[in-house]
Symmetry: D3
Subunit: 241 residues, 6 copies
């Protein structure tokens, strides 16, 4: 059995911290930390919808993702300077957007857009799962802000969502991979689940060798367990206990 | 139980055709049809690797994806005219590349690149899964071309790969969704599996409502069955029976 | 006298095929083949005009052109990935648009736009002339579609247009150059003519050495003859005989 | 018969001026004026060729074209601010480059590049023909500069080139259209000819109505006459008489 | 004491010429020359404001800056071809815009935009200060044009503005640096002042070594003197004496 | 006399904090806070120089600047998504680079590049001055890292640099403007000075009305005083007392 950093168990999360209200100006925000991975999530409310949605009585939730150039071990190019977002960036921000739209009833939200920004301040693996988990908290705060203002009568949030990665490292299924583990994994998977354990999104990829249905089931079981804990942390952070 | 177009059964593929050697100039090619979804896949061999891979004795397989503007019901903007590829396009071409790299031993391939182009001539759902399935045939032909020239002594292909979509439509698990089914699905998933049924990539997304682990297992079972048939078609098209 | 591929005569077209209705979704379409040059032309009708044309009671016809990366002997970069269309691409699509606007009365068309997409599936010289010739067929079908729907009372098409290339190869004037002939030509010219033989557009370029007015007249004569046959094929393909 | 501005005859050029050496820093330059159309042409010599030409003992001549935003009646967008060159700009700069390459023996030029910049200071029709005519003078000066330095032993220039537009305006063939005439023309054509009257490039376009071969011949005759005079002006400007 | 080109004194401007009305089409224009630095400034009037200014009863003045590729000793890349404006270009055009907005009362101007284009035809140091100085003349002409048309009742111009550079070269404070002086300066500063000597903008930069407050005061004194003369030239050019 | 937020005096800085080593991966870093303005500065060392500097035995220091989309009161567009950096961003990052190059002897640094990234986490006025002040600390740390590794024998840093803004608000000269003060200022100026009080860069701009030399002198005096305190804080943060 492999030994993880800080004697972490195979089914153990890294230290998680969720700090709501971190950003002074945003309607909702959360600084989320999964170990050394730190992501600032903000939620911005706009009182109009894009043209393709006008007049349907529905809102929208969308996300953008970015990484500070030196969030990583070696400096990465600044996407604004290169003039385009990488395929990886676009893939992640699309995932975050889909995950949050699964948490909310867009009809109840009404004709407004909530834009989520997830910016990675420091990266050590799992930036997309930390982003989803923190973004839910920022989204929840923005909805509270709308309700406190009286702009919303009914809370449009239908379920919590959180996300975690799992991977096969030297044959062993591990929860919440850090960067070193992720780099050496034979396969990894990201799970976005609801508070009730239902599936919102699954992305599993064999990096080195195809894996079996049984191995996948083990990863899934680990993830369900981890998500249960993350959802508890989200509730605590939002003062819902 | 819903009735599918042309009385198709829930576990039935659309008519599949794989036409290798469709493109006159490419080292490998395949026109793949899943019903009304038609994709031209070509494989181009280049005898040098990108800078980040030089001197490692390894090759690379990469993919690009595109759609003709009027492949779809209503005309889409031409990405070359807009000046950038959409997030969806980048997501799909990254998936195709990963899928094919799982099929091949890059060390045996040696210091060369095989570029796969998947261009959708007509779209009716499942363009990414048709692309992976046809691209494997084009890749196989390009490898044969290298072996016939004597540039490769050993065949680097380790396994077949094929891909298929499944989805939950009105509660029922269906194989190989067409566009109309996909638009109305509660959830859908794309599976890339090897000829032996091992998992290369899984992407599952709840469009309308989160789904259960059991529902996901049903989709997986459908996919395994479909992939077995697709791999048989690939072998037939390549004259391997 | 040079010997052409397949014993073709100097004034002989390559085998031409025009396959209308090739694309399932488009209002008009045609797969055109000039020998090994294959272009898919589609016509898309939009019921509004760009801002600069609003309120003038006139329509517009415009064209876009593209080439699949491996349509050619060696793979070309994908323009969507590079983020811009080449000067050559823009020059060709502007030519196609002008040619088709010469065929139609924009006032009779009314306030709508017909967008023509010409995508080269396989290239062996003459892609722009094949594009114009096939695009006319797609345009005609789209107009028929509008008339069948009752959206147009009067047919706005005023004349057929077709296009062909000619060139001086080792001093000899040849019709409809393939790629090998075009690469070795001293000069070449593209002619867009009406069914009645009037000039819509002429582009003549000395590649290797300036040419005389007499040589140009010879190319023109060849082109007139070739266009007459192309227009006949267009009529046949559209069932107008 | 139409009356032209300033009582100009149908076969008369606007006042032409060629001012060589206008730019202090360039190896060759010419401010060319065709009436109110003013273009600054510069030639810049670079002592290396692009990668695709290395080791072939040949040089290259290429051109770029631009227009100051307020060269025209109403201000046009600045292409640098928009982030791309229009199709029209690219078409024109490709034409200028081809025209000048027809004037020079690239083998004798040797492994160096001459870059021609044509920037329109003021526009009143015929900017592309003025550009070609002035660019030849700038090119000639740059070649002289190379010969004076001793970097070239043999003069690589093989022929003069100049260009002029003609058009059909209310049925009459006119030489050297200004902007107002060009806007109202039924058809127009640009001719690039050598000093000896041979054809380098012909571009003829029906703007309003297809035109006949006889009409085209009339335009050609006008152009030949005009080019003879332009070449004389080029020689005078270069002190070759 | 260093000897300047043409025995120029430390506090002496290069020969200055301001040629109003240089551009035929623009509402206002000025070709400004500071020695071998030549800039064409045009002013274009648009009768509507950008969306963010609508309904406020105010106008706007904005500027764009460009340099012909061979304005400089060695050819620079064309920004339109590169697809973006450099940081330097943007910095300069923002400076010109701010300088001119300080000269005009935007409320009196009313809901219209005056766009200033400053295009460097030839560069020998001080292009931004020549641009500001010439742009004021073009702006003034455009305002006169509006008043002559009766579109403005009151002249919105509140003050003249002009600009000049100064620098420390080998310890000596010099006015109006040319390119050679600027390249060797220890520090330089650009001053935009009003006709009355008030400060609109100051930009001082230590190129080689930080400089003292006293040195800065010397540069400022030189600039005040130079600006007084420039404003006189502006008045002469506009016929205001 | 105006009353500042929190009873701040005219010549008083906001609470300043400098937190070196904030970023886990970078060779140098500092989280700088000027009141509610928070900027993360990192320094990344690269052991090669750009092509234009090769073989000169000199290094380079350069900077990039960015702002998280919701650092501000209302969300700004993400520059990476828009595909280009604004003029303001480029102006600021050029300023930061110049300021730091004034602090260091590039010959002693040797053939390596230090890239400074300044990313605004939260904005409340003065982001460019906070960036310069924090970037110096990050740069210093990176130099220490090089010396501790033995890659540098001599410390290349020649002087401290720090920056502060001043402005005229309702006629009063104020130090270190926050966003509300900056928005209402008649004029403002940014000063980059050395620890010894010498001038590295001055940028002064009249927003509403031109200002006098005396007013400018008052701003300068305030700045000198503020910089003295900032340099003390830098030394404390770096443990140099």
């Amino acid at each position: 059995m492999s030994t993880r950093f800080n004697s972490r168990q195979a089914d153990q999360l890294r230290p998680v911290s969720l700090e709501p209200g971190y950003a002074k100006h945003a309607e909702g925000s959360c600084l989320v930390r999964f170990g050394d991975t730190h992501v600032l999530c903000t939620a911005s409310v706009e009182d109009r919808v894009p043209p393709w949605l006008r007049g349907q009585g529905k809102g929208w939730v969308t996300a953008e993702y970015g990484m500070l150039p030196r969030a990583t071990h070696t400096r990465g190019d600044r996407e604004a300077a290169k003039g385009k977002q990488s395929g990886r960036t676009q893939e992640i921000q699309r995932l975050i957007g889909r995950a949050l739209r699964a948490a909310i009833d867009l009809k109840v939200l009404g004709e407004r857009v909530i834009k989520i920004d997830c910016d990675v301040i420091q990266a050590d693996g799992g930036t997309r799962t930390a982003s989803v988990t923190g973004a839910y908290v920022a989204l929840y705060q923005a909805v509270e802000w709308l309700m406190n203002k009286g702009d919303l009568k009914e809370n449009p949030i239908r379920t919590e969502v959180a996300a975690i990665s799992c991977g096969l490292v030297k044959g062993e299924a591990l929860l919440d991979l850090d960067y070193a583990e992720d780099s050496g994994a034979d396969a990894d998977a990201n799970f976005v689940l609801t508070g009730a354990g239902a599936i919102v999104e699954i992305q599993g990829t064999a990096e080195e060798a195809p894996f079996t249905a049984e191995q996948f089931a083990n990863l899934f079981a680990l993830a369900q367990n981890g998500i249960t804990r993350l959802v508890t942390y989200q509730r605590q952070a939002l003062g819902l206990y």
